[in-house]
Amino acid sequence: MIITQRKPMEDLFAMLEGVQKVALVGCGNCAAACQTGGENEVREMKALLESKGIEVVGTLVPEECCHKMLVKKELKALRDSGAQAILGMACGDGVQTVADNAEVPVYPANDTLFLGQIERVGIFHEYCRMCGDCVLGETGGICPVTRCAKGLVNGPCGGQKNGKCEVDPENDCAWILIYKRLEKLGQLHKLTGPVPDRDHDRMAHPRHINLRGKKV
């Protein structure tokens, strides 16, 4: 799940300076789960903007806002709305996908934070940084790249105190968690042994995947 958080309203009003008519595009998937771009939030945003004299001339909540074909189709409904701008209430990907299909400026309502686990409704934890070279097999299924504040893959720094991280004592030290899990799994030998190269050329942005075997 892509975790998003709404920007402060004053930032949104600053971006919408001079705009009288706006359309809102949310997302029925991640942003809905994050309570930043589902039907409810779009309705609330409409009321907030209208209370400040900005007319909301159309609203859309595509099933998922990062799907180009889907978004293209749905955006047709806004074509004659007279919107001078669109407020994208999805993640950064969704906002760009809307912008790819729009003639007017598209502004982000949210900050996109991380790829996270939903522990339960409204509680999210960052679990994967999408490093492109997954080491979970060596670390008992706990990601050190993400859950260790320094992203250390060879073992802990000296900084944990009572199992908590030196960087933020609210966080568990990932390496203490890894140690305990490996101990349970009978895999403590994975704490030593050769360390794989972590090369960052796989991380040259932007990355693409094409499963279709032909140029799109």
């Binding site: 504040a149 320094k150 992203g151 250390l152 893959v153 060879n154 073992g155 802990p156 720094c157 000296g158 900084g159 944990q160 105190k161 030196e166 960087v167 933020d168 390496w175 203490i176 140690y179 403590l188 704490l191 030593t192 050769p194 360390v195 972590r198 960052h200």
Partner: protein, 299 residues
């Protein structure tokens, strides 16, 4: 050859002292302290923005010390530089005849004084050692390209003896040694019991590397309490805190008592042959290092 390496190989009791570059661009104070240390230590270990607080660079001060004829040890953290920048600094250091280094992961910027800085951690301590060892062995750089000439360093790393679970710390030490660490310095220790326990665990794991005990001369009871609270791996025993707190009543300065404690500890480590040397982290009171050594009966 590295003076520290020579001392450790010969079985002399080795001493290194830590020194921080200035928060500014004037090295004169550091140069003056270096004069006091000349001939008394096998290396002056120059910190690389310790505690993630901005200072002049370790490389800069190391060059200054080298030119003054005092052997520097270049500390290298992975916090601020990617592998290219780290190797570039090591090559430059080698060009100036600097031949001893210490690899650390580095404290995170958010605990320091430039909190908005981007943490790098392209390589951690293990990664830095591994890269340098490979460069030295192959003469190839971090991208596998030939270097015109290759550096040679005596490579060091650190370890935290007071750590729970100790097996995790020992495993990391194993990785550091496998990656090319040739000597180790410990986090500050204050009594020999925890040190002995740790050294036993290292022995059982059959890790063979010289481990120099880290010594922090305490300046006051407040400092000891603060470190116990805030510095990971530091555990000053209560009786030492009490002795510092009651120093004034006995008509002594707490820092003097701290110097005596440090000297006693070094004497004990040497007498019991626990470690082949010590690393003294005087945290701004480097001028006390010669006094500590004299009181410990060294040289």
């Amino acid at each position: 050859m590295s003076l520290l390496k020579t001392a450790l190989q010969r079985g002399e009791f080795a001493v290194t002292a830590e020194m921080a570059p200035p928060k500014g661009c004037d090295f004169s104070e550091q140069a003056a302290v270096a004069e006091l240390l000349r001939g008394k230590v096998q290396g002056v270990n120059v910190t690389d923005m310790q505690s993630a607080c901005l200072k002049a660079s370790s490389l800069g001060l190391c060059i200054r010390l080298k030119q003054a004829g005092v052997e520097p040890i270049l500390q290298v953290t992975g916090r601020d530089r990617n592998r290219m920048a780290i190797l570039a600094d090591l090559l430059s250091a080698a060009a100036f005849g600097i031949d001893t280094m210490l690899a650390l992961t580095g404290d995170h910027p958010v605990v320091g004084d430039c909190k908005g800085a981007k943490p790098v951690y392209d390589l951690d301590s293990v990664g830095i050692l591994e890269m340098l060892r490979r460069v030295e062995e192959t003469g190839l750089d971090c991208g596998g390209n030939a270097l015109d000439s290759k550096p040679e360093f005596f490579r060091g790393a650190v370890v935290t003896p007071v750590y729970e679970p100790v097996a995790l710390q020992v495993a990391k030490l194993r990785r550091k040694v496998d990656a090319g660490a040739q000597y180790i310095q410990t986090q500050g220790i204050f009594e020999t019991e925890s040190l002995k326990r740790f050294l036993e665990a290292v022995d059982q794991a059959q890790i063979r590397v010289p481990i120099m005990a880290g010594i922090i001369p305490l300046k006051s009871a407040g400092m000891a309490r603060y470190m116990n609270e805030n510095v990971p791996g530091i555990a000053v025993p209560q009786d030492q805190i009490d002795a510092l707190a009651s120093a004034k009543e006995a008509g002594r300065k707490p820092a003097e008592v701290g110097v005596d404690m440090a000297a006693d500890l070094i004497r004990q480590i040497r007498a019991e042959n626990l470690c082949p040397g010590v690393h003294i982290m005087a945290i701004g009171a480097e001028k006390n290092v010669p006094i500590i050594l004299e009181k410990a009966g060294i040289q």
